[in-house]
């Protein structure tokens, strides 16, 4: 006996009457059919507990069927009428579908009630990015950084922006280094020093100790800037070395101050 025949015969069983020997033999060796039988038994048990919505349609349908049966009792071949086991099978399958759908619905409802409702996003909608200038000139670069500083509220991010502000000044110096006079570079070194001392170091000091860990990145950037300034001082004409040495000294001083702040914050 194959699984198909076994399951069909199980469906034909009335109530919980003993199964035929051949079906029992198949069930003894087939795990899938045993599971199928268990499900069938569970469904049959649950059917009487299913709520049935009030309906006039059922009665009308029964009357209609009976009228038809009475009108042509002989014309309808026995094969076309469902006998009791066919009805049972159909009802069982329908009930199974209803039970499964019900279980799915209950499961969904439970999940909905147990799972926390997604909280409406209370954070403000993402801000439209503010227009920025194409960074072709130092003034455009500085204005963009200032707009970032105006928009940014996080002190660590502001420090990073100040650091890039200082880099912009140094980059400009490097760009014009060959054609500039010492006084031009000196002016840039002065501005660089202002940003490092009054901006970076001052803001770093204002950072609470627990937030000073991020200072290492700014310090490293200053260290790099210092090395580059020293290199430029070596490579440039002697009369223009002084502003670069000045920038290197400012970087080193800033680096030392940030290191001290970091040490203070280290337990």
């Amino acid at each position: 006996m194959n699984c198909n025949s076994c399951q069909r015969l199980l469906l034909l069983q009335a109530d919980f009457e003993p199964v035929p020997a051949e079906v029992a033999a198949h069930l003894a060796q087939c795990r899938a059919c045993r599971r199928w039988q268990d499900q069938l038994v569970r469904i049959e048990k649950v059917i009487p507990t299913l709520p049935v919505p009030p309906s006039q349609r059922k009665e009308a349908f029964q009357t209609e069927v009976l009228r038809g049966v009475e009108a042509e009792p002989v014309a309808v071949p026995m094969r076309r009428r469902w006998n009791s086991w066919q009805w049972r099978a159909a009802v069982s399958v329908a009930a199974g579908i209803v039970v499964l759908a019900g279980a799915f619905l209950v499961n969904s409802l439970m999940r909905t009630s147990v799972d926390p409702q997604p909280v409406a996003d209370q954070s403000p909608p993402p801000k439209k990015p503010r227009p920025r200038l194409l960074e072709t000139t130092l003034t455009a670069k500085l204005l963009n950084k200032n707009l970032d500083l105006s928009e940014e509220t996080d002190p660590e991010k502001r420090l990073a922006t100040l650091s890039s502000l200082a880099s912009a000044i140094q980059d400009e110096g490097r760009s014009v280094s060959d054609v500039a006079e010492a006084k031009d570079l000196d002016k840039l070194a002065e501005l660089y020093g202002k940003i490092v001392d009054q901006g970076i170091v001052a803001r770093a000091k204002a950072l609470p100790q627990e937030r000073r860990r991020s200072l290492d990145r700014v310090r490293d950037k200053l260290a790099e800037a210092g090395k580059e300034a020293e290199k430029l001082a070596r490579d440039t004409a002697p009369e223009k070395a002084e502003p670069w040495l000045k920038m290197a000294a400012i970087s080193r001083r800033g680096q030392d101050q940030l290191s001290a702040l970091l040490e203070e914050a280290t337990p």
Binding site: T139, A140, L142, L147, L149, S150, R158, V179, G199, R203
Partner: protein
């Protein structure tokens, strides 16, 4: 055909070298001319790094507006078309992203504070007054410097309108 690849490589390299930003005296001239503005911008950056009040931030950009308008007028007086245009763009961004954005933020925060609301209005009106000489609708003599001013004024006009709307939202 055999020469095509080496030739293309040579030309590509040459193009790459040409495309590198050349350090030209114009850049130095520009740096020198812009130095007063650069000093203002550096000072402003340091100040903004320690500022949290939108009204104060707007005031900081108002100060920058003054410097920029003065520079634009100077550039126009000297017939410096490129510089006038460049500064006009800087001013437009300053007004739009600096002044207007912060005035709008401040407005939301101080809705129930009549003193600060009054301060906000005064600040906005001052910015409009400072930029008034650039108003493109002003009648001007048809001189070249006035044409330059008018062009810069057209650039900043959307930002001026935005500020006016913040001051008079019902209009």
């Amino acid at each position: 055909m055999k020469l095509f690849v080496p030739t293309a490589v040579v030309f590509t390299l040459a193009g790459f070298l040409v495309a590198q930003e050349p350090v030209i005296p114009e850049r130095l001239d520009q740096l020198r001319r812009d130095m007063p503005l650069i000093e203002v911008l550096v000072g402003q950056g340091i100040q903004l790094a320690d500022e949290s009040e939108p009204l104060n931030k707007a005031r900081s950009f108002q100060e920058l507006t003054k410097t920029l308008v003065a520079n634009i007028r100077d550039a126009a007086d000297h017939g410096q078309e490129v510089r006038t245009q460049r500064l006009g763009s800087l001013l437009q961004t300053t007004l739009e992203s600096g002044v207007a954005e912060n005035l709008a933020s401040a407005r939301q925060q101080i809705e129930n504070d009549p003193t600060k609301t009054k301060e906000l209005r005064r600040l906005g009106e001052q910015v409009l007054e400072i930029t008034q000489p650039l108003d493109p609708t002003l009648e001007r003599p048809p001189t070249s410097e006035h044409k330059l001013l008018q062009a810069a004024g057209k650039t900043v006009q959307p930002a001026r309108i935005a500020i006016r709307k913040i001051l008079n939202p019902t209009r």
